[in-house]
Amino acid sequence: MTRFTAGARVRARAADPDGHTRLPRYARGHIGEVVEVRAAWPLPDDAVRGVFALSRSMRCASPRPRCGIRGLHSVIIDMWESYLEEAP
C-alpha cells in the first residue's frame, strides 16, 4: 500500500545520499503533486548494490514559474516512494 495517492502534495527529500540515487539534485527540496502512481520497480539506490527489492514509484509534476522567464512550464519526474515526504 502506497503512502501517497494521485493528487497528493509531496516534497522531494533534500538529503544528499552517500551512494547512487536517481533523485536529481535540482529536484531536491521541491514541492510537487503526484499525478500517477506507477508499478513497483527496483529502487536504483539499492539495485546498484545488488539489492533488487521492489519499491513503489510515482510520477510527480512540479510547476516551475520563474521570475523573468516567460510562460509556464512544469517538470514531470518519476520518484520512488522513499524519495518523497508529505509536503505541508
Binding site: 516551475r64 516567460r70 510562460g71 509556464l72 512550464h73 514531470i76 519526474i77 518519476d78
Partner: protein, 256 residues
C-alpha cells in the same frame, strides 16, 4: 552519433571507463564492439517514424500508442526495441508542448529513434532544459507562444518518454517519409509535405526514407533505453565512427 562526439568530455570519460573495464578483465574490446553492433543494427529513427505514421493514419492506433507505448510498439513488430523499459508516448498540441531530458545520464529510446545526438547528452542541455526550456527551444529555432505550456519530462527512471505529434496537420497521401532530426520536444515526428527543412539547420534537407523499407536484421534486442556514449565504429581513442546529420550542438551551446 555525431561526428564531433569523440572530442566531447563525456567521450573521454567513457574511453577511460572502457580501459578500466578491459584492464580489470570485465570485458574485452571485441565484446564491447559486438554489443554496440547489436544495438545499432536495430536502432533506427525509421522505427519511430513508422509508429508515428501509423498513428496519423489510424486514430485507434494513436489512442493505443498514447495509452501503452510498449504494446503499440509490439503491434508493429518493434516490441524488442521497446523492451526493458516503460515506453510512454506524449502528444504535442497547440496548448501543450512536451520536452524530454535525462539530466542524470541521457536515457533515450535508442531502438526507436536511433542513437541520440550529442547535444542531448551535453551538460548544458541536461541542466538548462528543466530550468529554462522555452529559451532552449528558441535556440533550436522553435519559438512557442506564452500561452503554450511546456511540460519537461525527466527520464530519470527506467522509463522512456517519447514526444511526438500524433495528429497529422495536412491531408494527403503519403508515399514517403522524411526523417527529421531528433530535437527536443519533437521526438521523431514527421513534418508535413513541403516542410522538410530542418529547424536550426538552414537548408538542412534530410535524406528521404521509404516507409516500406525493411528493418535491419538484429540478433538481440538493445539492453536498455540508454544510448551508450561509446561511439560505434570508434576506437578507444575516439577515431573513426559514423557521422550524425542531426548534430546541432554548436548551435545550442554557443559560449557555454
Amino acid at each position: 552519433m555525431s561526428g564531433e562526439h569523440g572530442e566531447l568530455p563525456v567521450a573521454a570519460r567513457v574511453r577511460r571507463l572502457e580501459e578500466r573495464m578491459i584492464a580489470a578483465g570485465l570485458a574485452t574490446d571485441t565484446e564491447l564492439d559486438e554489443i554496440l553492433e547489436q544495438v545499432f543494427a536495430f536502432a533506427s529513427p525509421v522505427n519511430g517514424a513508422r509508429m508515428v505514421a501509423r498513428a496519423w493514419k489510424d486514430p485507434a492506433y494513436r489512442d493505443r500508442l498514447l495509452a501503452d507505448g510498449n504494446a503499440a510498439a509490439a503491434e508493429l513488430g518493434l516490441g524488442a526495441g521497446a523492451q526493458g523499459y516503460l515506453l510512454k508516448a506524449v502528444e504535442n498540441t497547440p496548448a501543450v508542448h512536451n520536452m524530454i531530458v535525462c539530466p542524470l545520464c541521457s536515457c533515450y529510446p535508442t531502438a526507436l529513434l536511433g542513437p541520440s545526438p550529442s547535444w542531448y547528452k551535453s551538460f548544458a542541455y541536461r541542466s538548462r532544459a528543466v530550468r529554462e526550456p522555452r529559451a532552449v527551444l528558441a535556440e533550436f529555432g522553435l519559438e512557442l507562444p506564452e500561452s503554450t505550456e511546456i511540460r519537461v519530462w525527466d527520464a530519470n527512471s527506467e522509463a522512456a518518454t517519447w514526444s511526438c505529434r500524433c495528429a497529422r496537420k495536412a491531408p494527403g497521401r503519403w508515399t514517403k517519409l522524411s526523417c527529421p532530426p531528433s530535437s527536443p520536444g519533437t521526438g521523431s515526428s514527421v513534418p508535413p509535405p513541403g516542410k522538410q527543412t530542418v529547424p536550426g539547420r538552414p537548408g538542412g534537407q534530410r535524406r528521404p526514407i521509404t516507409c516500406s523499407s525493411p528493418l535491419p536484421p538484429h540478433r538481440k534486442p538493445p539492453p536498455d533505453a540508454c544510448c551508450p556514449h561509446r561511439t560505434a565504429g570508434r576506437d578507444r581513442h575516439g577515431r573513426g565512427g559514423p557521422g550524425h546529420e542531426g548534430d546541432v550542438e554548436r548551435r545550442v551551446l554557443p559560449g557555454r
